[in-house]
């Protein structure tokens, strides 16, 4: 359906909902690269004005990709909670923004609505919200998940310990794991990005994580972030797998470019569930997403990158994941050019994920060809902590020596805990105190030599 808006003497027309959403999106490199962005600043605001008057029921009625052509669209429509939607069906997008910000709309209301909110509704209202709106609305959403600990409780923020090594060297990975745990990180997951996808190497890393977690009875979970097909084969071979990882996108074609389908994800989720390795919960999936992946795979169908990203969350929530994070600044400046665009995208992704009921974390990160630095990341991190982000990454010194980008560090996690008074997953917090890593208040004890984790991390036979 066509939309239009008059501003002064100019009448702006938007032939489809897709083009209206794209032109209403806050400016970013990827939408300009795709040729879908507003041509002028005024057109951008005109699109927002028009979008504010679109009813949510109208968004539901106009799929961005035809139902027959795209499995993600079918998933969105088939899983929509029509009953819960009745509460908001008469609202326009502009009214929906005010509803989300209203004091009467609390965590309980938002939890009840999550399955009624399609990605396109989340994306649409997101485009009308300022950064501070995204923070306030997101922090009202509470999403709790569990495997060997409880993630997402109010007043907590978890950290994924990311101990990558350029050649997957076991001693090197263990050194980073020990360092991270000594800094109180690792409650979200100990998650290794492998340098290769060779099954034998993945198996070695999975066994390493399993042994490590068992040895210290650490209430956390391990994951090697390889392709879902590799994890499926390894599970079939009886290799210990806690969480199944996969990168996902917001269109069927994007997922195909990742070599994955909804059926494969279902099969892997079922297989991991059947292993029953979670002690207090059975959320077994870990997904990564990121604005720009659909455009990068030439699979965006003219949909703006933020809306594509929200559609990936519809894929994620179909599998009740333990963890979902957008890798917000990883993809490069042709999609998110500078610190301002990365900040905006981080808040959007966190908000849309939470609104749709996901345990949303963010990899607060950048590459060296983006116009961004550590100061920009400090602002993104603080804004996300204020938003109630479920988890962040913990990379030694913020420098990922395998993937070649900068993420957040163990020190950054300490900064957030100090500045915002946030704790860890309670089971993990208790373990850290028992291991004499933290004091009863959760603050790190002064670093001492001879800790068991450190002594054990030195390879056998090393001088």
């Amino acid at each position: 359906m066509a939309y239009s808006q008059s501003v002064g003497n100019t009448r702006y027309s938007f032939p489809t909902l897709k083009s209206l959403l794209a032109k209403a999106s806050p400016p970013r490199a990827g939408d300009r690269l795709a040729g879908v962005a507003a041509a002028t600043a005024e057109e951008n605001v005109a699109a927002k004005l028009a979008l504010a008057d679109v009813p949510l029921s109208g968004i539901l009625a106009e799929p961005l990709i035809p139902y027959e052509d795209d499995a993600v669209t079918r998933l969105i429509i088939d899983s929509h909670d029509a009953r819960a939607f009745e509460q908001i069906s008469s609202m326009t997008v502009g009214e929906f923004r005010e509803f989300l910000l209203s004091h009467d709309t609390d965590a309980k209301v938002l939890t009840g609505l999550a399955q009624a909110i399609t990605p396109e509704m989340a994306a649409a209202v997101c485009k009308l919200m300022r950064n501070q709106d995204l923070i306030l609305a997101a922090r009202k959403c509470h999403v709790t998940t569990a495997f060997r600990n409880t993630i997402g409780l109010p007043g907590t923020m978890a950290v994924r310990l990311q101990p990558n090594h350029p050649t997957d060297d076991v001693a090197g990975i263990v050194a980073s794991i020990a360092d991270g745990l000594m800094y109180g990180c690792g409650d979200a997951v100990i998650g290794i990005n492998p340098a290769t996808d060779q099954p034998a190497r993945i198996e070695e890393l999975l066994r390493l994580l399993d042994n490590f977690i068992q040895r210290y009875a650490t209430p956390t979970q391990g994951c090697v972030l390889c392709h879902v097909s590799t994890t499926l084969d390894l599970m079939a071979a009886g290799i210990p797998v806690d969480l199944v990882f996969q990168s996902i996108g917001g269109t069927e074609a994007t997922n195909r470019s990742f070599g994955s389908t909804l059926d494969m994800l279902r099969e892997a989720s079922d297989a991991a569930q059947s292993l029953k390795r979670g002690t207090i919960g059975q959320n077994v999936m870990y997904f990564e997403t990121g604005q720009g992946s659909a455009l990068s795979a030439d699979a965006h169908f003219g949909i703006d990158q933020q809306t594509c990203e929200a559609r990936a969350y519809a894929v994620a929530r179909a599998f009740d994941p333990l963890l979902v994070n957008s890798v917000v600044g990883f993809i490069g400046p042709e999609y998110l050019y500078d610190g301002k665009e990365i900040l905006r995208a981080a808040l959007e992704d966190h908000f849309c994920g939470k609104l749709m009921g996901l345990p949303m974390g963010i990899d607060v990160c950048y590459t060296n060809h983006a116009e961004a630095d550590q100061d920009d990341m400090d602002v993104v991190l603080a804004a996300l902590a204020a938003s109630g982000v479920t988890y962040i990454m913990g990379v030694p010194g913020a420098d990922d020596v395998m993937l070649g980008y900068q993420s957040t560090s163990f020190h950054d996690a300490m900064f957030v805990r100090e500045a915002f008074g946030l704790g860890r997953a309670p089971e993990f917090e208790k373990w850290l105190a028992e291991m004499r890593i933290t004091d009863p208040s959760g603050r790190l004890l002064p670093p001492a030599g001879g800790h068991r984790l450190i002594e054990d991390a030195i390879p056998v036979g090393a001088p």
């Binding site: 490199a29 690269l33 101990p163 990558n164 090594h165 350029p166 060297d169 001693a171 090197g172 263990v174 050194a175 980073s176 020990a178 360092d179 000594m182 998650g191 990005n193 492998p194 290769t196 996808d197 972030l225 390889c226 392709h227 879902v228 990882f245 990168s247 470019s257 990742f258 070599g259 990564e288 890798v327 990883f330 042709e334 050019y337 990899d363 590459t367 060296n368 060809h369 550590q374 990379v395 030694p396 010194g397 913020a398 420098d399 020596v401 070649g404 980008y405 900068q406 560090s409 020190h411 300490m414 900064f415 100090e418 670093p447 030599g449 450190i454 991390a457 030195i458 390879p459 090393a462």
Partner: protein, 259 residues
Amino acid sequence: MTGAPRDPWARLGTWTPARIALGRAGASLPTHEVLSFALAHARARDAVHACLDLAALASDLKLLGLTSVEASSMARDRVTYLRRPDLGRQLDHASQDRLTVHRGDGCDLVVLIGDGLSATAVAANAVPLMSALLPLLRKLELKLGAVVIAQNARVALGDAVGVSLGARLVAVLIGERPGLSAADSLSVYLTYAPRAGRTDAERNCISNIRADGLTPEAAAINLSWLISAAMEMKLTGVILKDRSVAVRATSEHLAGQGK
């Protein structure tokens, strides 16, 4: 200054280049670590924005007995280059005309040296690599076209260059995205039958070429093996597995893997 000490487990750094055991000032990093990170990032940023000195490169190549031709992509400046990868993959019209003059009857191999994301890497490693490669190429008895040197180049610019010069094979020497530990890594992408629309899966890549990584001399051995195999098999890409002893060549990305 003395400052906060490293953590007592600094010894674990023996087994990883990761920044571990950094120590702390309260919840924060010691001053030395803040500044050491800032220096590494500054070098990487300078490498991204450095301008490739085409004249110096041309004169060094001449000393090796190589004729070079300058070219530009459609990306006019660094900002455009970073925002518009599509423009960095296309030759501008003047360059196309200039290359056509050099086409002749075509050739077996064209080398494109482009700045990519690190002109620093090209300045440091392109000439040593070419110097080590030339004797190996002579043994293969290939018809070598003019060396093209280009600013604001992406890997796929090689496809346009290869077409303009009628080359069976194009080797693109290009600066990698700088990391914090190394801002001067060069990569080579080899593509058989270059043409518009080739994907990364149809290329072979040798990466991390620098003095402290894969040395230009070792990379040259690797590359000449790949060139010879590509000419024989009439293809490049994931099907062509590098079996040379020197080092591995990998295709860039494993689909769907983390990050």
